[in-house]
C-alpha cells in the first residue's frame, strides 16, 4: 500500500511534526476514538492535555474511580498545568468498565493498585490498552515499547493474547518507568552499535514524576531525597528488557548489567540521568558521538504525529542538558544528551535529560498508540 501523510487541514500547532523521507503504512482516514482511564490524576491530565490537538485521536471518554463517576470532568479534575480543553471539561466521568467505555484505544493512567485487573478487562474486551503501570511491564510477551528502539517487540502480541485467553485482538502495551526512559534512549543506539555490558545510572528526578499531590513541599524545598520507592529496581530490570528482542516466544532481555541510584530533586519537570557505560570492546568518545548524532530511530517510528526528525540531540554546551532549559525539546518528546566524555574506569560517560511526564509517560503512550495504528494493529483490534 502506498504510504502517505495525513492530510487533516490546518493541523494543531503543538503536535504534528511529520518525518519527511519515511512513509508510514497506514494513515487513519478519520479520527480514532480514544479513552483515558484514571483521567483525573497527574498522568491522566497530561493525556488529556496532549490529546487536545492530536491529528489522529479524538478523546471523548474519560474514566476514573467510583467517587468521580457521573460528575463532569471539569468539576472533579483539580487541573494542574496549562488549560483544560473545554470539550473535555464537559465530559461526564465514566466508570472504568469496558461495557461502558467504547473507544478501541485505551490510554491507562491507572496506578499499580487498580491497573492489573481493569487493564486486563479492557484487553479481554478487544481494546488496545496503553498502560503506564508497572503491573504487566515485565511479562515476557508484553511489549515495553519505545517506537524508536524496539518496535519489534510488537510481535509479541499474538502470544500475549493466546496466553491470556483473550478472544479478540485486544492487548496490553506498556511504557517504561519514566527514569528508565531517559536512560534507555541514548543507550539504545550505542548498544546496537557497540554492545553494552554494564551501566551505572544516577538519576535526579523531577517532582512531577511522583504525581499530584505527590511530594510534599516540606520534603523537597532546598533538599534532595536520595530515594524513590522501587525506582532503582525498575530501572535495573526494565532497561535490559527494553533493549531486548522477541525471539518468537519471549522477549529476551539484553545481557546488560545495571546499577542505579535514584534521587528526587526540587525540579518541576525533567529527569536528568548520569550514565557511565562499559562496552564489550573499548569505544572512543568520538565514535559514540557519531552514532548518537546519526541516530534517527527505527524506521517504523518515523513519520508519526509524535515523531521527531531527530529524537536525540547531543549538545556541546559544557553545562547542559539542564531540566529547566532543555525539558521542552521536541515538545517534550526529545532527549537531550550532553557531557559526552571518557570514563576513567569504563568507556563513556554522559548526561541525558527527558521530560518525564511527556516522553516518560503520557506522550510515550500516545506515540506507542500511533505506532500500533500505523502498523495496522487497530484493524486487527
Amino acid at each position: 500500500m502506498q504510504r502517505k501523510h495525513l492530510n487533516a487541514g490546518p493541523v494543531a500547532g503543538v503536535f504534528y511534526c511529520p518525518g519527511t523521507e519515511d512513509p508510514i503504512s497506514f494513515i487513519p482516514r478519520n479520527r480514532i476514538q480514544v479513552a483515558v482511564l484514571g483521567a483525573t490524576g497527574a498522568v491522566g491530565q497530561t493525556f488529556v492535555r496532549l490529546l487536545a490537538d492530536h491529528p489522529w485521536f479524538e478523546l471523548n471518554e474519560v474514566a476514573a474511580s467510583e467517587r468521580s463517576v457521573g460528575r463532569l470532568y471539569g468539576d472533579v479534575a483539580q487541573w494542574i498545568e496549562g488549560e483544560l480543553p473545554p470539550h473535555v471539561a464537559a465530559l461526564p466521568v465514566l466508570p472504568c468498565d469496558p461495557s461502558i467505555v467504547s473507544a478501541p484505544i485505551i490510554f491507562s493512567a491507572l496506578d499499580a493498585a487498580a491497573a492489573g485487573e481493569i487493564e486486563a478487562r479492557f484487553a479481554r474486551a478487544g481494546r488496545l490498552v496503553f498502560s503506564n503501570a508497572k503491573n504487566s511491564r515485565m511479562e515476557p510477551d508484553v511489549p515495553l515499547l519505545i517506537p524508536e528502539i524496539n518496535a519489534g517487540q510488537l510481535a509479541a502480541l499474538p502470544t500475549q493474547r493466546k496466553r491470556m485467553g483473550w478472544p479478540g485482538a485486544g492487548a496490553i502495551i506498556t511504557n517504561a518507568n519514566c527514569a528508565t526512559t531517559a536512560a534507555v534512549i541514548p543507550l539504545a543506539p550505542l548498544h546496537a552499535a557497540f554492545g553494552i555490558e554494564q551501566v551505572f545510572v544516577a538519576t535526579m528526578q523531577a517532582v512531577s514524576g511522583a504525581g499530584y499531590p505527590g511530594v510534599p513541599s516540606l520534603d523537597i524545598l532546598g533538599n534532595v531525597i536520595p530515594y524513590i520507592g522501587e525506582e532503582e529496581e525498575k530501572i535495573e530490570r526494565e532497561l535490559p528488557k527494553m533493549l531486548g528482542r522477541w525471539n518468537g516466544s519471549t522477549i529476551v532481555p539484553a545481557m546488560i548489567g545495571v546499577s542505579a541510584h535514584a534521587n528526587r530533586v526540587p525540579v518541576e519537570h525533567g529527569h536528568t540521568v548520569c550514565l557511565s557505560i562499559k562496552f564489550r570492546e573499548p569505544v572512543a568518545v568520538a565514535a559514540a558521538r557519531d552514532v548518537l548524532d546519526a541516530w534517527r530511530g527505527d524506521a517504523a517510528s518515523r513519520g508519526l504525529p509524535s515523531s521527531l526528525d531527530q529524537p536525540l540531540v547531543v549538545t556541546d554546551m559544557p553545562n547542559r542538558p539542564q531540566p529547566r532549559r532543555d525539558v521542552g525539546f521536541g515538545r517534550g518528546m526529545g532527549v537531550t544528551v550532553g557531557r559526552l566524555r571518557a570514563d576513567p574506569l569504563w568507556d563513556l560517560r554522559l548526561v541525558a535529560l527527558t521530560h518525564n511526564v511527556v516522553r516518560g509517560a503520557a506522550g510515550g503512550s500516545i506515540f506507542n498508540a500511533e505506532l500500533l495504528v500505523a502498523s495496522g494493529e487497530l484493524g486487527a483490534a
Copy 2:
C-alpha cells in the same frame, strides 16, 4: 607529658565537644593567635563564624585583597549567614602580607588565583598555612589532611620544607575539595578494612560550594546543572591521595580508580554523594555496615575541639541522608551515611552527606590546625 583537656572556663556552646577516652598530647595553655586570609569571601566568613567561640584559637587578624585593606571588616564583608561577631567586625582589614599579619596559624580562604604565591610567602615566614585552594593539594609532600583518616601524612612536612627551601618551621597543609571530602570519609574505613579497587561517585552539590555571589539564581532555581568546572577531575585525583600514605619521600596515592559525575542542585548547604564501590574481594553489606558503625577515626584525631565522638553515623531511615535535614549533624563536622545496600554490578552502594562549607572547607581547616597544635607542630613552628 600528661595529656589533659583544655580547661577554659565556660566554653562556648557550639564548639567544644571533647572526646572522652583518648588523651591528646598537647593542650594549649593560652589561646593561640590565628589569622584568616581572604576573610571577606564565603569561606573566609565561615572561618570567622566558626572561630568566634573556639576554645584554642583567637582570631585577631583578618586579611583580604587590596581594595578592602584599611577598612573595617564589618564595613567590607557582605555578611551572608548568622551573626558577624562584633569584635571581628571592628578589626581593620590587613593586607595578605606576612610582615604585617603576625599570627602563627594562618587559615587561607584565598582562591586559586591568589593562593599560590601568598600562601608560600606565609609558609616561608614560618607560619602553618591551612589552605583551601587547589594549588598545592597534589604536591607529593603536602598533606591533603583529614584528621580521622590520614593524620600520618603530616610526616611529609619536613620534606616539604626542605624542597621549598623554607628556613623555619612553616608549612602548607591542605583541605580536600568539598565534594571529595563527602566521599572519602566513608570510603576510608572501608578501604582500611577491605581494600577498595574502584568507585563511582555521583554528586549533588549545594550552591554554597560555589562561594558568594556564586551561582546566579536564574541558573539554579528549579534546575540541575550537571557540570561543575574541574570538580570531577579534583575528585578523581584527590580521593586516591587522601587514602594514600607517606612512604618517607612521597605521599603514595591509594590504587583506587575513581569515576565522578558532579552536579549542582538547588540546595543551600550540604553535598550529597552516591557511591558504588568495588572491593578487592567480595564484601557483604553487613560486614561493611559493621566497619562503618565501629569507626571512630584515627586516635590522633580524638579529643580535639572539633572532634566528634562518632564522626560518621549510618542511618537506617530509608530516605536519608537529606541535606536540609542532616547537614547540621555534629555541628556540620559529621558525615551521615544512608542507603547502605548491595550493588548489582559491584559490591556496595551508599549515599553520604557532608556540610560542604563546614567539614568541607573552613571547619575542616580548623580541625586540621587543632591536630597540628595537639601534635606539637606549633612548637616547631
Copy 3:
C-alpha cells in the same frame, strides 16, 4: 509570695532563657505533666520537639486519632524535622479522651474538624487546654493569648467556665493564626503608644504553615500562590481581638480596621508580613522606632522559660528580615522587624518576620501555658 527562678539542675540548652529583673509569681517545684493531642501531625510534632527539654513541663502522654491509638508514637509519627526524642518515640498513642489522658495541661494540635468537641471535653474535665484551632478563638470569653501583649485576657476564664457550665477549673486558651501573630506583635506596642486606626497587611507565608503533607511541591516550587483559604478573614478578625481588652464580661476588640492579602511562597519556615499603618494622629518614624526598641512585653510575660529579654528586635539592615536568615531569632520565639519607614499614604511601613511553627503555633501555646502556670492558674485547675 517571693518569686524565684526555677532551679532544675542542668537545664536543657535550647530552652531556658530567664529574664533577669522580673520575678515571677510561681515556679513549679516539680515538672508538670503535659499531654499533646493530635501529636502525630506537623504542629503536634513541633510540640513534641519543643517540650523535649522543657524545664517545667514533662511530656508523658501523646494522643491522636483512632487509627494510631495503641501503637507506639515512634512507629506512627512520620517525623519531619530534627530528632524524635527517644522517650517519646516509646510512648503508646492514647485516644483523645480525658478519662484516659491524665495530664492537667493539654496542648492541642487538633485541626478544626476535631478540636471543637474534644477540647471542650478536656476543659469540662478540668484541664487547661491550649488550642491551635480556630474553633474557639473568636468566643468573647476565650483568650486569644500572647503573653507579651494581652495577658489581661486571662481574666475572661471564670466567665468562660460559667458560660460553658464547666464544673472545675478547666478552660480553653487559644493561639492566634500564625500569620496574625507575625503582624500583631509589632502592632501591639505601637497601638499602646499611639493608637492604630487602620492597617494593611500583605503576607508571604511559609509552606510549613499548611502542615504536613501540606502544600504539594508541584504547586509551590518556583511559584507564589496568592491565596490561603480563610487566612485573610482570620487575620482581619483575630488581630483586633488580640489587641482588645476584657471589660468584665467580654473581650472587646480594638477598633482597628484590617485589610489582608495572604500569599504562600516557597519558604520552609517563617511568615513575612508587610504592614502599612495609619495612626489616630500622625506619628514620626523615629517615635515609632523608639517605642519598638524600648518594648519588652507585658511584665507578666517576663522570666518564663520561653520569654526573651527582648521579644522584638528592629534591624537596620536594609534588606532584612528574611525568613531563611532571621527565622531562628530567639529560638523561633522572637520577632524581627525591619524596613521601618514612612508610608506615603498613611504613617508607617514595616516588615515583620516570625517563625510560624514555633512562635505562631506550638511554641506560642507552650509560652501561654507557662504564663498560666506562673500566674497560679494551674493551682486553680
Copy 4:
C-alpha cells in the same frame, strides 16, 4: 490611506497576533532595521529572542560595551534562555555609537549608568530610542508608554525634541519599571471608569527582574528578600505618570497616591502584585469586574504584531494568578488578574501578574516601537 495587515509570507509562529476589527494607519512594506544597545545582558538577550521572528522588525545590529566590541555576539553573550538565533550569533558586536549603528529604531537595554548619555546621542542623531532605563522616565515630555493605556503621551515628542535641541525627528520613549507595569495595566481601565484616589501595592517579584547574574542563589533559595533598591520609589512615582495626560506642555501625573512594598521571591519569571484600591466614590466589585472584562485597550494599540485581542483577563480560579502557571499568557504580553474582591478598608482588592522580562521590559519596548511605526512616527524620524 488604506490600512491593511502586513503580508510577509509565512509569519513566525510565536509573534503575530493581529487584532481584527481595528485597522491601523501604517503597515511597513519592508522590514524595518532595528538595533539593540546593551545586547549582551539579560534584557538585551530578551530583545534578541523576541525580535527573532518579528514581522516588522529586522535585527541586524547589536551593540554593547567596549570589552565586547569587535567580537561575535554568539561568543560574548552568555546565553540564558531558549535558543540564540544563529544569524544574530554571527553578528559582530558594535560600539554604542550612532555614527556606526545605523538602524532608525534603537532598543536600549542599557542600565542607568550608561543610558543617559548614549541614548541622548542616538536621539540627537535622529533615532527613535526605546529605553528601559530610569534616566528619562520622569521627564515631563518623555512618554512612559504602554500602548493600551496612554498612547496619547506620544504627543509630547515634539516638545521633547525642542527642549533637547534635537535637530531631527529622534526621540526617547520609555518603558515603566517592570513591577509598575504589572500594577498599572489593571488600574488604567479602573481609573478611567471610576477615578482612583489611592492604592496600596505589595509586590512579589521574580529574580529575572534583577538581570543576570542578578540575585545570588544563596540569597534567595527558600527565602524572601523584602527589599529591592529604589523599586518602591519607582512604583510610587511612575504609576501616576503612566496614568497621566499630556496637556500640551507637560505630562500631568494622575492625582493618585501610591504606597508600595517591594519584595523579591524565588520565582524565575513573573511579578505578582497585590493591590488595594480606593476610588473617589464607592465602587462595587461587580462593577469593577465588568470594566476589566470589557477592556480591550486604547484603539491605537490594536492590530499591532504585539497586540492581544484581550490584553487583560480576569480569572475566577480562587488561587490564581500564579507566576509559574500564568506568566506565559499572551506570549508574556498579557496581564492575568485574580482574586477580585472587596477591601474591608477601601473598595477593591485584586492580584495581578505580568511577565516582567517580556511585557515589563523588552516586549513592552517592542510593542511601543510598533505603536510609533503604526502611527507614522518613523516617517517623521
